[in-house]
Subunit: 512 residues, 2 copies
């Protein structure tokens, strides 16, 4: 009886609380050496060129307080032109203050993550304005759908952490919808959370709610970082006020910030990948140096988003050969500076089809081979990031599960080398019924959640369904089986009260 | 005028003689170090275990002449049981006689290939009984469709070479259809060719026709190998008569042979990947040692086809984590023996969907990272190899083109580092109209043949077409634009005469 219930428990864990087969949630270490496509001279050339850009071209920095801080640290500032020329010594010295690795706390104490080193973390899509699923097609996102999206991502064990901006809730007022998404993130999932850094207010709300969830204060949060944020420079070479202030708020509270230039080669950066990398490097290092000036030791990730555009149309392209090489080169740059690296699982397809899969695979393999530490947009990104797809959640989960299993070393021992089994079966025999095979029946191989390996006749009889058709069923099943992770009711109430109070404040005094 | 026509010529080459954009046909070198997942001790353990299998379990060898040869070389043979126990010294010594690299001649003198070293060769699907396209669905292959398939593969520049068995022509008599497919292969394509080694007769016909095409004799063919073959051991541990005799025919004529055990883990080999590798290694090395006994120095490839089955149903699985690891480990084994390595672009999907793409990508990345030399089934494989798909030809071509471009090193020079362009554009500007960008307009980035990067609205307006829908159009376009590569009419006639004569012979004296 005890044995049966423990097996049920085990199965339940394996299936992620539903009938959908999954690998268990786990931290993932990448045992392979990174694939390096740049030599030391080439890294030095990119570094020097990016320092030349920061010194000679400089950046527009819109936030006066940020300019003041940078001026205090010896960088040349033109207040009238809101322009900063960065000092190479300042940048190099400050970037070196960022830690090589850091831990992020989750609500579930077992689900903390380490950023840096050999760890690889798969996070969710963030930022789309649209949501896309088989039932409703592509449409502006709504809050109830957002909650369902977070429920699905909580249920996918391959998903390490979630962004609270998996898509915009267009049915909520723009100046307070972050409160609903933070509440959803803190209550419907127990994984690590990413929050919006769009301005000081949103960042501070995330910190305040993290304090409530972890029953701590600013000092406690600083001791144990509990929420992560991302800023994009407005490439080329602009740091806007909202991004600067949001990141500043996180930095002064010791919460990790990714700095990701938006360097699409041919549009927002030069029409060569080396040129785009130079500009990316300049912007990323300037941003990180700024945060280290706010608070030395702030955990920072080196973010790469360098891809290219279609030169004929200007359309962004993702998961291309250029994207792969830019990602591999960026990981080398990040490691050169001793920084954990963030890249993405991208594609430019408008539909969950073969293109969506092969462009995503190109992106994911670049992350894997380059030793990316944090794969943002891991689950659900479609259409160049303009929409979040529920079916893609599942396709991505299958692809990422497979990659996680691929990273596990082969278990080579006398027992697994199979000489006994080969002797048992002999020439012309069959291993399917062999004792050795039966003893390994349950655990021998990766069991897919989405892939269909039926023969053609059975597949045809069961309706000729594609992977995308099946993905639709799977997310529905996950939603049906979803169980909200337990939370102390006092904490839950305090969060709700906070959200209500802040909404009221914002309603009474909306931002200018 | 001259300039315009040379540009047209160039564009024509770039587009592969049609409106479909393509990279040019090219030999491909893999500049990256191989990803190694086994250490030296583990390689030694697999080697020792496989030698133990060959010595203690041995193989069933159905062909009496092959058994005699093996007996002559000191291996223990039981004639009544048609069984051979291989001597480890014989195997090791003979395998060492195979060359590490070899060249294969094509009808087009510019399209020769080198097997081994850093080269990676992408070949076509081989072996399916069915063909699959959007117009007719999945059905037994017909000869006219076979010809169209070869025309498409000739037109795809990413395709280095073609199998003459891309699918079976079920409307032709089984004992002579190889003559039609060889004739098609030698006339409708000018790339390197793979031929069937199913028995001495088929192999000899391929050799005779290669002699006609290259205006040479057996000695000339031996000096310059001109057609390649593949045999599969009937795993576990059986070498059948047709395979042995076909391979023998090629080996005694110095033509290259791939030896590929069919070791699906859990069905035809032990239910562990290390065990399947042990058995694969035993069977591959036994086959190669046999061919080196027939003719020392015969070019041989170490073939890996190790994957796993779904333990619940016995269905074969491809492009799985197990497939990736088996492929990576196999490349290390092949290199350990100084042999070029063959693996495959596999998937188990019944339809050209996201699953087909992600399983294929897993397979292709394993080949790329492992430094596979010859990627068999590169174009068109679907449904675990039971069907050849015309749409998949195109999806594979796009994926392989992208990988070929990914292997090209970044061009890092002062001119490409973009500092000038960044100065030209400045903060907040746009690179699209910049002089530096315009100077790179034509050649900046990979131009896809299949991927659609339109925005959602345009994509919707143009009919919501998936990659598979578009692939259908592309293969039709390639067929429409196809031009038969020129051939001396005397050679053409001699080939036709040979086929007619041989068909007549076979009709009058069919095989028993």
């Amino acid at each position: 009886m005890a044995r049966r219930s423990s097996r049920r428990q085990e199965n339940r864990e394996k299936r992620g609380n539903s009938g959908v087969p999954q690998i268990p949630w786990q931290r993932v270490s990448n045992p392979n050496p990174p694939l390096e496509i740049l030599n030391a001279d080439q890294i030095a050339m990119i570094h020097d060129a990016s320092m030349q850009v920061l010194e000679e071209v400089g950046m527009r920095v819109d936030c006066p307080k940020t300019r003041s801080l940078l001026a205090e640290h010896g960088n040349k500032v033109d207040e009238a032109a809101t322009h900063v020329w960065f000092d190479r010594g300042f940048v190099e010295e400050r970037v070196a203050m960022a830690p090589a690795t850091f831990k992020l706390r989750a609500r579930n104490p077992e689900r903390w993550l380490e950023f840096g080193g050999d760890d690889i973390i798969f996070g969710t899509v963030g930022g789309p304005a649209f949501v896309n699923d088989r039932d409703k097609g592509r449409h502006p996102g709504a809050y109830t759908e957002f909650q369902d999206g977070i429920r699905i991502l909580q249920s996918l064990n391959a998903c390490h952490m979630t962004n609270t901006g998996i898509f915009a809730c267009m049915d909520q007022p723009a100046d307070r919808r972050h409160l609903d998404t933070l509440l959803t993130g803190f209550t419907l999932t127990d994984k690590c959370l990413g929050a919006s850094l769009l301005g000081r207010m949103r960042a501070q709300d995330a910190l305040n709610m993290a304090c409530i969830v972890h029953d701590t204060d600013a000092a406690g949060l600083r001791a144990e970082p509990s929420v992560i944020g991302n800023i994009n420079t407005n490439s080329p070479l602009v740091l806007d006020t909202e991004m600067a202030q949001g990141a500043w708020t996180f930095a002064e509270n010791g919460q990790p910030v990714t700095v990701t230039p938006f360097t699409l080669s041919g549009a927002m950066s030069p029409a060569t990948i080396p040129g785009a990398l130079v500009q990316q490097n300049a912007e990323a290092l300037a941003g990180i140096a700024f945060l280290q000036a706010v608070n030395p030791g702030t955990p920072c990730l080196y973010g790469t988003f360098t891809s290219n555009v279609d030169m004929k149309t200007g359309a962004p392209a993702f998961g291309t050969p250029e994207y792969v090489k830019a990602t591999l080169a960026s990981t080398q740059l990040g490691r050169h500076y001793g920084l954990p690296i963030r890249a993405s699982n991208t594609n430019a397809s408008n539909v969950v089809d073969a293109q969506a899969a092969y462009e995503s695979q190109m992106s994911l393999w670049a992350c894997l081979m380059g030793h990316v530490n944090y794969v943002n947009h891991g689950f659900g990104w479609l259409e160049g990031g303009l929409s979040a797809s529920f079916e893609k959640f599942i396709v991505d989960a299958e692809m990422i599960q497979m990659l996680i299993e691929t990273l596990k070393p082969l278990d080579i021992r006398e027992e697994t080398l199979g000489v006994g089994a080969i002797k048992e079966v002999g020439p012309g025999g069959h291993f399917f019924g062999a004792a050795d095979t039966l003893s390994r029946y349950d655990t021998a191989f990766y069991a897919p959640m989405l892939s269909d390996w039926q023969n053609f006749e059975n597949w045809e009889e069961s309706g000729c369904r594609t992977a995308t058709d099946r993905a639709h069923d799977i997310w529905k099943q996950l939603l049906e089986d979803y169980e909200e992770p337990p939370m102390d009711s006092g904490v839950r109430d305090a969060l709700s009260d906070y959200v209500a109070r802040r909404k009221d404040e914002i309603t009474r005094a909306p931002a200018a």
